[in-house]
């Protein structure tokens, strides 16, 4: 593990330097929406990710575009090869935890779910999911903690802990390349609407909604950042700025913070509803977990 961490740290520093250099030249190449630059395609392990898909008729977009398309060459390249992707430090940790016995029941995830590459295939693509017993949708983090506390007799992991990030990255990886496909009908409808309301609501002293930036202005520079559509197909995501992997709800919080609003709590009903709604805006994009962003 130690050796791996070291290698990861070096890779990160090297990548950060590379990215800074690349950022300087990126303004030369502005495409109509995304950045037109090499590498043009996201192919990981010979599998091509769908980073652009035609939007359905009821979408506010004409084309759904992954956040990868808006990043500069250095950041794009880091996602192409798992050896260059610093998120894999956490993935390895998640893989280890998968078969580590924990809690009063003497069980590990593998005790019930066996081989993750089988049992967890497609799971990320469909979250958040309706939970009948709880009567509300669950993010993957909720589900993992449900299994830990209710089935293993183990303590819940903190939302932003390395264990939770590692596990959600590892489980998410099993769906990489599969199209995002969340359920929004039935009891989810009401939650979807709640998420949508949050998305279009202006907040903070700067008085902006998510849509002001990610719907009305994607493709444009906002100071040093190129705005994307704010798609969530890559979470948890390694962020160069954070120098670590982070949860989606951390990202939501950060965006709200920047406009001088108080974010909701990670795992709150509000963020789960928002997650559901934003996921639905990216139906059909490939799961990229764990993605790399600037």
């Amino acid at each position: 593990m130690m050796k791996l961490m070291m290698a990861g740290a070096f890779a990160t520093v090297a990548a950060a330097v590379f990215v800074t250099a690349a950022a300087a030249q990126d303004s030369a190449n502005i495409g109509e929406q995304g950045l037109q630059t090499e590498p043009m395609e996201l192919v990981i392990d010979d599998e091509k990710m769908m980073t652009r898909v035609k939007a359905p008729a009821d979408s506010p977009f004409t084309e759904l575009i992954s956040g990868w398309e808006f990043r500069n060459p250095g950041t794009r390249k880091m996602e192409l090869d798992d050896f260059d992707n610093p998120a894999f430090i956490w993935v390895e940790q998640g893989e280890e935890l998968w078969s580590t016995v924990d809690g009063t029941e003497g069980k590990s995830c593998a005790t019930c779910h066996e081989d993750a590459s089988d049992s967890m295939k497609g799971v990320r693509a469909a979250f958040p999911k309706w939970d009948e017993a709880k009567g509300k949708p669950q993010a993957m983090e909720h589900q993992v903690n449900e299994c830990r506390t209710e089935r293993m007799g183990a303590d819940a992991w903190k939302w932003e802990s390395d264990q939770m990030l590692g596990m959600t990255a590892y489980v998410g990886l099993q769906s990489r390349g599969m199209p995002v496909q969340v359920e929004i009908d039935g009891p989810m409808q009401e939650w979807w609407q709640r998420g949508k309301d949050l998305y279009y609501q202006r907040v903070g002293q700067l008085d902006m909604s998510c849509a002001n930036c990610h719907e009305d202005n994607y493709g444009k520079m906002i100071r040093a950042d190129r705005l994307s559509q704010g798609q969530i197909n890559g979470f948890p995501t390694y962020r160069l700025k954070w120098q670590k992997i982070g949860s989606l709800h951390r990202r939501f919080k950060g965006c709200m913070q920047n406009i001088r609003a108080v974010g909701y709590k990670r795992g709150s009903d509000e963020f789960t509803a928002l997650e559901l709604y934003v996921a639905s805006r990216g139906q059909g994009l490939s799961v990229e977990t764990p993605a790399v962003r600037q």
């Binding site: 903070g204 008085d207 520079m221 906002i222 913070q257 001088r260 108080v262």
Partner: protein, 153 residues
């Protein structure tokens, strides 16, 4: 660029009147008519050099986040969300610029992404430390207006 004499003159005015800042127009007392605000918010003329700083500062106006401005080309990263402000003084009169800065939505419509720099917003999950505060002070807005008036083509 503004002639040096004018700059010195306005700096003197600024220094002289600061003590008696009673003339500041409170955010809820701003009179906007036909998308114009005629009266100086601070009761005095702004200082264009200060305005240039406020314009560029990430913590204050952060106007460069959204607007390119050739006069500040030595600053890295100009945004593209709003139109470039080169020559903005040829397009808008001072009372219009003041209205745009006070409450952009009243000029551009409710969909605008541009913040309202002189409006108090406490009830939108606003962080506590920004309660009862406008993004910019009356003086800073007047400084920015004085600066924008130097941007002619």
């Amino acid at each position: 660029m503004i002639p040096r004499m004018v700059w010195i003159a306005s700096a003197c005015i600024a220094a002289g009147v600061t003590a008696a800042s009673a003339e500041v127009v409170a955010p809820d007392k701003v009179m906007m008519e036909d998308m114009t605000v005629g009266k100086s918010l601070s009761g005095q003329a702004g200082n264009p050099d200060e305005g240039r700083k406020v314009f560029a500062s990430r913590k204050l106006g952060n106007c460069l986040a959204c607007h390119a401005n050739a006069d500040l080309k030595n600053e890295l990263f100009h945004g593209q969300v709003g139109p470039p402000l080169d020559g903005v003084a040829d397009r808008w009169e001072e009372p219009q610029l003041r209205a745009i800065l006070v409450d952009s939505k009243k000029v551009f419509g409710g969909q605008s992404i541009m913040p309202s720099f002189y409006r108090i917003i406490n009830d939108q999950r606003t962080q506590e430390k920004f309660h009862n505060k406008t993004i910019l002070t009356a003086e800073q807005i007047e400084d920015i207006i004085a600066y924008l008036k130097t941007l002619k083509e």
